[in-house]
Amino acid sequence: MWVERVNLSDIAGSASILRPRSSPAQLVMTFGPTRSLRSGEITRLLRTSFPEAILFGCSTGTTVESRSLSDTNTVAVAIGFETSWARVAIERIADMSDSYRAGQAIGLELGGELLVGVLVLSDGLAVNGSALVNGLKNTLPEHVKISGGLAGDGAQFADTLVTVGDLAESGLIAAVGLYGPSLRMTHEAAGGWDEFGPVRIITRSDDSILYELDGKPALDLYETYLGDEAAALPASALLYPLKIWDPASPDDEVVRTVLSVDHARRSMKFAGDIPQGWKARLMRGSFERLIDSAAEAADCAKSQMENQSSYDGLCLIVSCVGRRLLMGQQTEEEIDVVYSSIGGSFPIVGFYSYGEILANSKTGPSGLHNQTITLTMISEVA
């Protein structure tokens, strides 16, 4: 397996600058600002350079490449497999309630004997991520690892898209199935957020829309906590993610992040379900603990990959926009610690998302995550 960072300004001149490889690129992943991707220019460039590859990417407010972040750059990475192969599946959804079906359709399309993992990128605003992942999980066997995320748009929460082949659209879900007996995939997620304040009860909600906590409007609570920063809602709500859990199984906690707010109804839309009757508690992050947890996740993913005696590969980072908003310049440090742990043999590429997907992991909860950093390492064994 080979992985190469694609310098988009280079290939704008000539494809010949690419190094010759033993196999053609089969997959090219691209992450960048919505505006850059929507124009289609980048896709055209990549198509010229990688005529046989699956072009696959999504919008984001912040890209990750190697050990640095950028709020303006578009990043791309080309991947060639020795013996493994990839297939793509695409679903468009009309509205959020279609998310589960879309997940099922993708799962059914990609499912196959040698399927090792699925990378899924979804529109970040129009999709119920929890339902999408549940649809996938219910159609794919448990050993198939599912990774990916919801497209982002920085602090704007205005326009997200997914690119696949020549398409660059909102409301799109694309997934790449990775197949072959030599393919190895490990993934990890880490949060590092701390709970604080009283435990609350979700007294009124409807799917992913939260109306009331403890019988009072949820938006009132967030506005109180945010103070002046309430003006930056919904993005500023990411500073205080919401941990929720079913009182009947208090160990299965999930963290939810806000996608939008409705000032008139005093409600908040989250990136996943907020079941009524569950308990909830606000969370907040300290830089140190968020960064430490990223390092732990990296160590863990790396050790899993080493156990499988693999060599070079790719490390895909999908981290939450909430972490980016909170940590500002220091966000780079969580990428830096991952880089330090994983080292040079696994080039890092990734994006800051509106929701991280990590399912069928060996450890930890499975499904749509929020406010986490997730690492997916892909490799081939000889």
Binding site: S68, F196, G197, P198, T224, Y225, G227, E229, L239, Y240, R284, F287, L326, M327, G328, Q329, Q330, E332, E333, D336
Partner: protein, 627 residues
Amino acid sequence: MSYHPLLNRQLLKAKCDDESIDVPTLLSLVSTAYQEKDIDRKRADHANRVMADELNVTLSELALQNMRFRAAMDNMYHGLSLFDEQGRLVVCNSRFLEIYGIDGETSPIGLELPEILGRCNALSRANDLDKRLIIREHICLDRLDRTPIEQQWPDGRWVELTRTSVADGGFLDTIVDITGAHQASDKIAHLARHDHLTDLPNRVLLRERLLEIYRNRRRQQKCAILFLDLDGFKAVNDTLGHAIGDLLLVEVSRRLLSIVREMDVVARLGGDEFAIVMQHIRSRSSPQRFARRVINLLNRPFTIEGYKIHVGASVGIDIIDASEMDADQILRNADIALYQAKADGKNTARLYDPAMHAAVTARRQLEVDLSNAVLFKQFEVFYQPQIDLEAGTVSGFEALARWRHSGRGMISPTEFIPMCEENGLIEELGAQILEVACKDAMAWPACVTVSVNLSPVQFKSGNLPTIVKDVLEKIGFPGSRLELEITESAIFDRSSGIISQLSEIRKLGIRVSLDDFGTGYSSLSHIRSFPFDRIKIDQSFVRELGADAESLAIVRAVVGLCENLGIQSTAEGVETHKQLDVLQHEQCRSVQGYLFSEPVTMSETMKIISEFNTDPPKQISIRRRAA
């Protein structure tokens, strides 16, 4: 010198192609980093403040909640104490302090259970060992079992303790004062074994006492049981009411208790029946002597609510060896002896002997048979003619009930009538006889009447006039051909309203005669109390006519009296010509007796009527009929 990683990154970002630092870029990055830190600090401050406010609200809500819990706990009926994993008291309510008598000023919170129990006043009256046992039992309660235990404390209280385990490794004890419940169950147990009116032991406790005697028996130890029944109690209840009757029973129980020994038992079995168990008796005669004392004691008049009341008592006695005690048998034997005592004329005591058993059984069987005979109308009616001496004709017949028992043959009315009276059968029997007699009399010539005897008991219900009227209407028999006979003793009991009932009967055209005159009180006032149509002179006087001058004087006086008052006189039991002669000489109006005819069946009455009435003889032809 090593810089902060952030500064290193900022330097890297500010580095120009020629490796020089773009100072404005660096400063901008550094400034932004300061701003971000400021924002983060302010954000944390703000969040902490809001959280503190929220927690304050929550705290005050919790305080309110605590206050409510405290109020609820302190008003619980149960005492409650919650101990932590180390066994130290963390929470208790005021009921807990109250039950244990723990001084509220020195809080037991933080103390372990043994220390708390050691301090509590409620156990201070116990001696050391008892106290240790009570405390130990409490401390060792099983927290998983949850089965309550009961303790009786030295101050007499009963408490129930329950222990439950708590999730934090501690335990929760609840304590409740169940003294009231114990008292109630004691009371219930007492009520179940005692008579509520006199508070004497009842039949249940009597039986238990007998079993106790058996369990504690010694060799050749004898005991006696006396069954006692008041004679005349029913009359007290009927005449003075049940309230007086109840007071009389209470007084009887007091008198009985006053003469028994401490070891003896007096029980009320129900109604006017009492039992006395005498233990350790020395001779067979001592219970009998004691029974006599009882009878004498109860014969003494009682004064209840201003009424002077006389009752008697019949006593049945059985004596057995304590080692052969069979409670059922001794009770049955004493009952049989009592039955015999009553049969023997009351106000007497009888000692059980096995022969009695057969007699009583036979009598009881007879009672059952009698009841069936009344039910199935198995009585026959015989008739004895009454002869009008002036006309020499049969003026009427006296109806006499006869019972032909399948095993014993004919049974005398003197035997079965009292039994019917005692067993509440007389009203039904009386109605049956009346109906048969009236039906039979329909066959006789219109000048021939029928007379039917009445028992005083038939007046008790007050229904007699209605019964008589119904019979007459049912059969279509004219009241003028019916005569009802009552005895003097019936008139004496004015309480039954006999006079008014007789007056009603008389309005139906029925004649009323006074039977067996001379045997009772022979009171002229009785004759005056009601306008009798006939007075029947008792056969005891008639029998002596010609032999005894006194009898003649009485007969003459009565006949004369009747003559003057315009009342018919009839002499009963005329058996000889001599008696008839005397009666004719004394101008007695009518006679009946074996001289003319013994009581006969209905079919034979027709012959008698035809013999006497078709061709009335000038001189009465006297003929004795074959038996």
